[in-house]
Symmetry: C2
Subunit: 316 residues, 2 copies
């Protein structure tokens, strides 16, 4: 086994909850996170990267883990004042959190690429893992819904994912490529993990960055995905609805089917053990664990299972 990094494809809070366990079984400095930026947006002049921030704050030990976003103990003084000035105040900005957005935006407008700013922020906040955006180029996840053509954050935060979704699409992909460092990390990786994030709008955009699918396919035999669905339900969020909108069967089998060209191992919840034979039929090695990730103990057990899965002799 090589000494290469463990690379994790990550969305937001689902990935962060998983990473909290992974860092207990893999030294943090050996972990490289490839984060989704399809949810990023410009907000009152600031560049906001919700998934990168969530991963960074959780790995830094700063996250409000109960709430799932932002910084623990943060205040919302600026937010309250902004709500008095603007109707566009539905995206919550904590005061400490604002410093992250100010720093990032200042650096981006000075011409520093997103991957470099992301590394600076992670280092300043004490994160020992490497966090890479999927691309330095702007890529936007958009949804055609009953409430109109929406940015993901408009759908998710402003509309509380209530509108029916007819189509998910992306802008900016044609100008994008994987961020510097991604090809090297995937090539050297001793293991690639697909975090239990939304396959449609968290992992989907990462895989769609031109060139990424080939890099991932080349690492397929070293890649394990963790199902974000348990008995056909997401722990939180509109995973099921968005998979349906993409015509994907909204259960662990559907996720496994989506990833079958880029992953060789799959971790499912004990509630889905009945799906194991059909998922194995797609060519996967399978581990079955409790995957709710409610605490770092259970998250580390899932991480350990994922790490062990491709080391075991092939079943049969």
């Amino acid at each position: 086994m090589s000494l290469g990094p463990v690379v994790v494809l990550a969305g937001g809070v689902g990935a962060a909850r998983f990473l909290r366990g992974l860092v207990r079984v893999v030294p943090p400095e050996e972990i490289v996170v490839i984060g989704n930026t399809g949810d990023d947006m410009w907000w009152h002049g600031l560049y906001i990267a919700p998934d990168l921030d969530t991963v960074t704050y959780w790995l830094a030990g700063l996250a409000d883990e109960a709430r799932g976003w932002g910084i623990r103990g943060d205040t919302f003084t600026a937010q309250a004042a902004l709500a008095g000035l603007s109707e566009r105040s539905w995206f919550q900005l904590g005061d400490r959190d604002l410093a992250t957005h100010l720093y990032r935006t200042g650096r981006l407008t000075a011409g520093v690429p997103l991957h470099a700013v992301t590394a600076e922020l992670a280092e300043s906040l004490g994160v020992r893992s490497r966090i890479l955006p999927m691309s330095d180029a702007p890529i936007e996840t958009r949804l055609k819904t009953d409430a109109g053509d929406l940015h993901f954050q408009e759908y998710f935060v402003r509309e509380h994912f209530r509108p029916a979704v007819h189509e998910i699409y992306w802008t900016g992909l044609d100008q994008a490529q994987p961020a510097p460092g991604i090809a090297e990390a995937l090539s050297a990786a001793r293991l690639v993990l697909i975090a239990p994030s939304n396959p449609s709008i968290s992992i989907g955009p990462i895989v769609r960055v031109p060139g990424m699918r080939a890099l991932l396919a080349a690492a397929r035999s070293r890649t394990v995905a963790i199902s974000p669905l348990i008995a056909g339900r997401a722990v939180k969020g509109p995973t099921v609805e968005l998979m349906r909108a993409q015509g994907v069967r909204p259960d662990a089998f559907g996720v496994a089917d989506l990833y079958r060209e880029i992953a060789a191992g799959f971790v499912i919840d004990t509630a889905d053990v009945a799906l194991a034979p059909s998922i194995a039929g797609l060519g996967y090695r399978i581990a079955v664990r409790a995957t709710t990730l409610d605490d770092s103990d259970s998250a580390s057990q899932v991480a350990a299972a994922a790490l062990a899965l491709l080391r075991q002799p092939a079943a049969a």
Copy 2:
């Protein structure tokens, strides 16, 4: 006497202290402020307009009057977090104050011109006077100093106006014109007041906007300036140093000399009564008052004197 507005050329805190008195002798809704934007800057991705904000906060009754900048009772949570991320944290951003910058920057990046955003902010904060930036175009006050070529805020805030100044210059003037509404306001004004602001870097940039000097000259017979210097000293700030750097005599006479083509009345402090004859020799009518503006009573007395000055019969 016409019913036109009272127009005030304004810098930051000196003008704000004067305006606090003016609104006691002129209905606020009859006042139009033309504010300096030469000190504006981009700061971590946000557009900051310190003088417009100071005037707005004072007229809104929100200002921290003792400190001279920002909002009374504001907190500095984002600022403290930013200082942990960046060495560029010398310009203090209060949390409530940040909402102003967020709103303004969001609107500017959406293509709304500065004069419209300034009006929106003033209205949202309850200001009944009209506040106009001198121009919608970016104009930057820069200083050649012993510590290098600096933006005004670098000189003033970061370097605490300690470096010797050799030259003051402006960028952006060639692309600029007075903001919409200024020509009409000056033409209709029953009185134009030049606030007791720094003539070099507060009033100077306003007068330098192409087209502005002619508009002001046409209103000369209706214009009164209030001296920002008392016995050759400024209440605060580097007024004397910057006048010297421009080769201007750093006292009330020097200020009067600077303004003689655009003002017909001049208010000096009682400490400067000995200068009255030479200032009158420049063609001014003169009022002598205590001009320290320490409270709104004294500010309103100075404002009343300025209002009365051009109504009195010429002093033969």
